[in-house]
């Protein structure tokens, strides 16, 4: 749990204070100083329009990580609700909820997101919608699974017989037991969201230029691969380091939970 907290704090600090550390305006165009090599006045060089790459990377954290957080959190909300409805709502509600989940899982999530974002028109709003709509199913499955195993527990049966409202049972009896596992799923989905946002940005369906998002930066850098190959390295490293950090935190959290459950 501690590793996840540290991670969230570091990312939050990066999103809040990262842009303040940026030495230049990330969208300020300076054509005479285009495609400068790293070092000197521009620590990581400049891009094809003379914009400072370091400043764009620092501002980009707010887009790439911030939007991934929003996307994974929306997925968590929707998925938990669907899972709890399936677990508590009886056989018919369960069947409907689970077949809906299957339908959304019937297609590679990222491709579905590309199609949705592409058809509805590129932009930040559709990007979040496309990734959230294709990113809630794993939470639903986990929430339903744990919910069904709780339904036969003595305290839940008693609460139900005592006439406790299903929503209150969900809030006070189900949610506390769900949270640890859902947090593990959330770390995985957060990492996937970062990859998804950068992939859609790279294909041109995501955050639109001149906003500095890491995938969009890679799309720009790709054209100048021959003259300034390093320009392509930095945004990629930012994505890999973020995803790696989240995955490692998720693994650590899962190990802690497994240890707590085993004795």
């Amino acid at each position: 749990m501690r590793s996840v907290v540290i991670l969230v704090v570091v990312f939050a600090l990066l999103m809040v204070f990262g842009p303040m550390l940026a030495p230049y305006d990330p969208t300020a165009i300076n054509i005479p100083k285009r495609l400068q090599p790293p070092g000197g006045e521009w620590l990581l060089g400049t891009d094809a329009l003379g914009r400072d790459i370091l400043s764009r990377l620092l501002h980009g954290a707010r887009w790439s990580l911030g939007l991934a957080f929003v996307v994974s959190f929306l997925g968590l909300m929707v998925g938990t609700c669907v899972g709890l409805i399936a677990a508590q709502g009886g056989r018919f509600a369960d069947w409907i909820a689970m077949r809906t989940t299957d339908t959304f899982l019937a297609f590679p999530e990222l491709i579905a997101a590309v199609v949705i974002a592409g058809i509805l028109g590129a932009g930040t709003g559709t990007l979040v919608f496309a990734l959230a709509v294709t990113g809630w199913m794993r939470y639903a499955r986990v929430a339903r699974g744990i919910g069904l195993s709780l339904a036969t527990k003595g305290y839940v049966v008693q609460a139900r017989l005592a006439g406790m409202h299903p929503l209150a049972i969900a809030r006070w009896h189900y949610l506390p037991s769900l949270l640890p596992s859902l947090t593990v799923v959330w770390t995985g989905m957060f990492a996937r969201a970062i990859l998804g946002i950068s992939a859609l940005g790279f294909l041109g369906f995501g955050v639109q230029p001149p906003l500095p998002e890491w995938g969009t930066m890679l799309l720009d850098a790709r054209i100048h691969m021959r003259s300034t190959p390093l320009q392509m390295i930095w945004p990629g490293i930012a994505v890999v380091v973020s995803v790696l950090a989240i995955n490692l935190a998720g693994d650590a959290l899962r190990d802690v939970l497994a240890e707590q459950e085993s004795p």
Binding site: D102, L120, F202, G215, M232, N247
Partner: protein
């Protein structure tokens, strides 16, 4: 078994209906007048109202949602994927041409991915916790975190731009397939290594294994008869996810390497707002994906007798 199979097939049918409905709802809500974009693409910019009405009637845009859905679905059910709204060419032959580039690439990548991950996982689990094990895990963790499009760009940078050993763009020769296959295979290998490794470690904790060892059964036989089959179960269950991962990688990788496969076909169709092509790819991919997952489900159930119909 027949009951379970029938239940699974019914589910697959429900899921495919859901996918068709979702696809049509998405096209129905696409912004802008689709008739106008079709007309512009076909006849140039200046179009009369009569032409727009003709296109609307032709595509069934002027009826209600459910009528239009049925009008849209029935030719698809008959196997008629229609014509491209931009070029007017039939969608199906072009789709099959694209498929002929994508399928071999996907299979070769999957094979290379297995060829890397199985030995790596076996070496890693020989002594769990050793430097080799930790090295393999670290390598796999980094591999999972690298987006396919960035890995592809790095490989182009190294092998095509700097060293000049391999071609990067197009699909004319076998050499053109090396870098895209490598990009996809490394991603597959990274995630499979983690799964196979934990599958083997988990299989070794089975309670009866020490008894077999004490009875003098050779370790090789224990590994073959009791560890390998048990370790295979989690691997088979994630094969569906692995296929999804591979397809997702294919889309960006084909775009980067300018291969005329299914991924480029889809992305270019979206750029051109050529909806008949988009829906053809989506529905074909959904059918393939559902059938593969159905097959995996059935294999999994026949391998693991503990699974009965209720624990689905």
């Amino acid at each position: 078994m027949i009951r379970i199979a029938a239940d699974l097939i019914l589910r697959a049918f429900v899921v495919l209906t859901g996918v068709a409905l979702a696809t049509f709802a998405l096209l129905w809500h696409a912004p802008g007048d689709p008739a106008l974009s079709i007309a512009e693409a076909r006849y140039g910019t200046v179009v009369s109202k009569e032409v727009l009405d003709f296109i609307r009637a032709e595509a069934g845009f002027d009826t209600g949602f459910w009528t239009a859905f049925w009008a849209w679905l029935s030719p698809l059910l008959a196997g008629d994927f229609g014509q491209s709204s931009v070029t007017g060419r039939a969608v199906w032959p072009d789709l099959m041409t694209a498929m002929s580039y994508t399928l071999p690439l996907a299979l070769v990548s999957l094979a290379i991915g297995l060829a890397i991950s199985v030995p790596l996982a076996l070496i890693a689990t020989r002594r769990p916790g050793s430097w080799m094990d930790r090295g393999a895990v670290a390598l796999a963790s980094v591999g999972v975190a690298i987006p396919a499009f960035w890995l592809g760009l790095l490989l182009i940078l190294l092998f095509a731009v700097q060293l000049g050993w391999l071609p990067a763009m197009g699909a004319d020769t076998r050499a053109h397939a090396v870098l895209p296959a490598l990009t996809l295979a490394l991603g597959v290998a990274a995630s499979l290594t983690r799964i196979i490794r934990s599958g083997i470690l988990e299989a070794r904790t089975q309670v009866f294994l020490p008894a077999f060892r004490r009875r003098g059964i050779p370790p090789r036989n224990i590994a073959r008869d009791h560890v390998a089959p048990h370790a295979a179960i989690p691997v088979i269950t994630v094969l569906g996810l692995e296929l999804a991962f591979l397809l997702e990688g294919l889309v960006v990788v084909e775009v980067i390497f300018a291969r005329p496969g299914l991924g480029s076909f889809l992305v270019n169709a979206i750029y051109a707002r050529d909806f008949p092509k988009v829906q053809a790819v989506v529905l074909l991919a959904a059918v393939i994906f559902v059938i593969v997952n159905l097959a995996i489900d059935l294999i999994y159930r026949s391998l693991d007798p503990r699974m009965d119909g209720r624990n689905a």
